[in-house]
C-alpha cells in the first residue's frame, strides 16, 4: 500500500529567470544537491531517480555528477508536464516496495532562453501533426485555446473566470521573492487589454518561459522520522490516460471536455482517506488558465461545467475556498513543467510557504491536464 508509506523529506531549487548562465545539467545537480542537503541525506545514499522523458539531463549523468551510490531504480515519465507528479509516484512506489531507499525526482529546464518545442518542425510531435500543423494549429496555446473556446461556449465560462485564475497565481507570486513575477502586480485592465496569443487566450493566460531546476527527495516514512525536516507524506498517487484520449488535441475524443484529470482523480480519491472537501490547499497545473477550471471539475471540487463559476468570489485566493498555486504557479512563479507545484505543496505542509495557508495539512498537486497526467495527495 502506498498510503503514507513514504514521505518527501527534502526539496531544492535553483533561482528562476528568463535566462540563467549555467547548463541544464549544472542546474539539475544544484537543485538535487540542495534537496539532499535540505533532507540531511548524503548524495552517496541516493539509489533511485525519476524525471520526465523531456528531461535532457539523464540519470547516468546526474548520478555520476553528484556522487550517487549504486542506483537500483530509475524511471522517466512521458507527455511533458503530465509527468511531474508521476515522478514522485514512481519513487514512492519503488521505496514502498523495497526497490530503493532514497529517491530523487527532478526537472531542469532552459525554456526561457532555449528553443520552444513547437518551433521544431523537423521532428514529429507526440500528437499527430499531419492533422493540425498544416492548418496553422501550431502551439500548445492554440490546442488548448480550441478547447477553451468550446468550454466557454458550452458552460458560460468567461474571460473573467480565466482572469481569476491568472490573478490568484500572480497575487501569490507577488508574495514570493523567488517568483519571476515577484513585485509585479496584475490588474483586470492589464489582463483585458493584453495582446492575444491565440484568441480566446491572451498573454496572461499563458505560463512563463523560464530557466530553472527543482528536485525533491523521497524516503520511507520510517526513515523520514530521522531526517532534518518535517516529513510530508505521499498519501495517494495516480496517473491518468483516459479511454480514447488524444493528448493536447483531445477534441478528437467523443467527450473532449472530460480530460485526463477525471481518470487520475478517480484513482487518487479511491486510495485516499479524505476527499476534495478536505483539501486545504491545491497546486493545480497551470500552463494555461483554462486548465484550472477543467481540473477543478476533474478532481471533484465542483460539478461539470462549474469550474469557471468556482473561481468567483476570491475562491482561489488565500482565505478562499481553495487557495491555489501559492508560490505563483507556472503562470507567475516559474514554468518548470510543474515541478515547482510539488515543492510548493511540500512548503505548505511544512508551514514555510511565502503565502502560507494557516494549518494546512492536506494538499493536492496535479500535473498537466490536457495530456496523459498524474497527481499526488500530500499530507503532513
Amino acid at each position: 500500500m502506498l498510503k503514507d508509506a513514504t514521505a518527501i523529506v527534502g526539496i531544492g531549487q535553483t533561482p528562476f529567470a528568463k535566462q540563467l548562465p549555467e547548463t541544464e545539467k549544472a542546474l539539475a545537480c544544484r537543485a538535487i544537491l540542495a534537496a539532499l542537503d535540505d533532507a540531511g541525506i548524503d548524495p552517496s545514499e541516493v539509489d533511485a531517480f525519476a524525471s520526465y522523458t523531456m528531461e535532457e539531463t539523464d540519470e547516468v549523468e546526474v548520478a555520476k555528477a553528484i556522487g550517487a551510490g549504486d542506483v537500483t531504480f530509475f524511471s522517466k515519465v512521458g507527455y511533458g508536464g503530465g509527468g511531474s507528479c508521476a515522478t514522485v509516484g514512481h519513487l514512492a512506489a519503488a521505496v514502498a516496495t523495497g526497490q530503493a531507499s532514497v529517491g530523487v525526482a527532478w526537472r531542469s529546464r532552459k525554456r526561457g532562453s532555449g528553443p520552444r518545442p513547437w518551433k521544431n518542425t523537423a521532428v514529429q510531435l507526440p500528437t499527430p501533426g499531419q492533422w493540425t500543423r498544416p492548418f496553422g494549429l501550431l502551439r500548445p496555446a492554440d490546442e488548448i485555446g480550441m478547447l477553451a473556446r468550446r468550454y466557454m461556449h458550452e458552460y458560460g465560462a468567461t474571460r473573467d473566470h480565466l482572469f481569476n485564475v491568472a490573478l490568484a497565481c500572480r497575487n501569490r507570486a507577488n508574495q514570493n521573492p523567488a517568483a519571476i513575477m515577484y513585485e509585479r502586480p496584475l490588474t483586470r485592465e492589464m489582463y483585458m487589454t493584453a495582446r492575444w496569443i491565440s484568441e480566446p487566450l491572451c498573454l496572461f493566460d499563458n505560463c512563463l518561459e523560464t530557466d530553472g531546476a527543482l528536485a525533491c527527495v523521497i524516503v520511507s516514512a520510517e526513515r523520514a522520522r530521522d531526517c532534518r525536516q518535517k516529513p510530508v507524506y505521499v498519501h495517494s498517487a495516480a496517473q491518468g490516460l483516459p479511454a480514447q484520449h488524444h493528448g493536447m488535441v483531445n477534441y478528437w475524443n467523443d467527450d473532449p471536455l472530460s480530460g485526463p484529470a477525471w481518470t487520475a482523480a478517480r484513482h487518487l480519491w479511491k486510495q485516499a482517506d479524505f476527499g476534495p472537501a478536505d483539501v486545504d490547499v491545491a497546486q493545480i497545473y497551470d500552463a494555461f488558465t483554462p486548465l484550472v477550471p477543467l481540473s477543478l471539475e476533474g478532481y471533484g471540487f465542483c460539478g461539470r461545467g462549474e469550474g469557471g463559476a468556482f473561481t468567483e468570489g476570491g475562491a482561489l485566493e488565500i482565505g478562499g475556498r481553495l487557495p491555489l498555486n501559492t508560490g505563483g504557479g507556472g503562470l507567475s512563479e516559474a514554468y518548470v513543467h510543474g515541478f515547482n507545484l510539488i515543492n510548493e505543496g511540500v512548503k505548505q505542509l511544512r508551514g514555510t510557504s511565502t503565502a502560507q495557508v494557516p494549518d494546512a495539512a492536506t494538499c493536492l498537486v496535479t500535473a498537466g491536464e490536457g495530456v496523459p497526467t498524474s497527481a499526488i495527495l500530500l499530507r503532513s
Binding site: R116, K119, T121, Q124, P128, G129, Q130, W131, T132, R133, P134, F135, G136, L137, L138, R139, A141, D142, G145, M146, L147, R149, R150, H153, R195, W196, I197, S198, E199, P200, L201, Q244, H246, V249, Y251, W252, D254
Partner: protein, 143 residues
C-alpha cells in the same frame, strides 16, 4: 505551409484529398462500420484490422476555433491573425477535423473576417493546392 508529414495510416486521406474527395477511415468489419479519426491500424470498437475510406458529404459545423497571433512560425506569422477551426462533420459529429475557414478555396488563411465565425456555423469543404499538396479548406454555407 508546413506540409503534412504523412504516416502509413494517414496516407489515404491525403491521396483522396488530391482527388478532391473528403474521405474518413471506417471499420470494414460487417457488423461494425464505425468511423474513426485520426486514422489508425485497428478499430477500437471491434478490433478489426479491416478498414475502408468512406466518402463524406463535405458538410459540417464549426465546433470551436482560435485566432492565432505571433509568436508563430514565419509563414503563419505573415498571415496572422488567421483562423484555425475544428469542424464536426454532419455525417458523424464525433469526427472533428482541424482546418481553416476561408473566403474562397484558394484565398489566404486570413481572408475571412473573424467576426463571421461562430460555434455552430455550417460550413462545407473545398480543396486547394498549397506547396504541391492538396488540403481541405472550409467555406461558410450561405443559409
Amino acid at each position: 505551409m508546413l506540409t503534412p508529414v504523412v504516416d502509413e495510416d494517414g496516407a489515404p486521406f491525403w491521396e483522396y484529398a488530391a482527388r478532391g474527395e473528403l474521405r474518413v477511415q471506417a471499420c470494414a468489419a460487417p457488423d461494425c462500420g464505425e468511423l474513426r479519426f485520426p486514422p489508425r491500424p485497428c478499430c477500437p470498437h471491434c478490433r478489426s484490422f479491416d478498414s475502408e475510406w468512406r466518402l463524406m458529404s463535405g458538410r459540417g459545423r464549426i465546433w470551436s476555433y482560435v485566432l492565432p497571433h505571433p509568436p508563430l512560425l514565419p509563414e503563419y506569422a505573415a498571415q496572422a491573425p488567421y483562423n484555425a477551426v475544428l469542424v464536426e462533420l454532419l455525417d458523424d459529429p464525433r469526427i472533428r477535423l482541424v482546418g481553416n475557414v476561408v473566403a474562397a478555396p484558394d484565398a489566404p488563411l486570413n481572408s475571412l473576417d473573424p467576426a463571421r465565425l461562430r460555434i455552430g456555423a455550417p460550413v462545407r469543404v473545398a480543396f486547394t493546392e498549397v506547396d504541391g499538396v492538396t488540403v481541405p479548406r472550409w467555406l461558410l454555407e450561405r443559409a
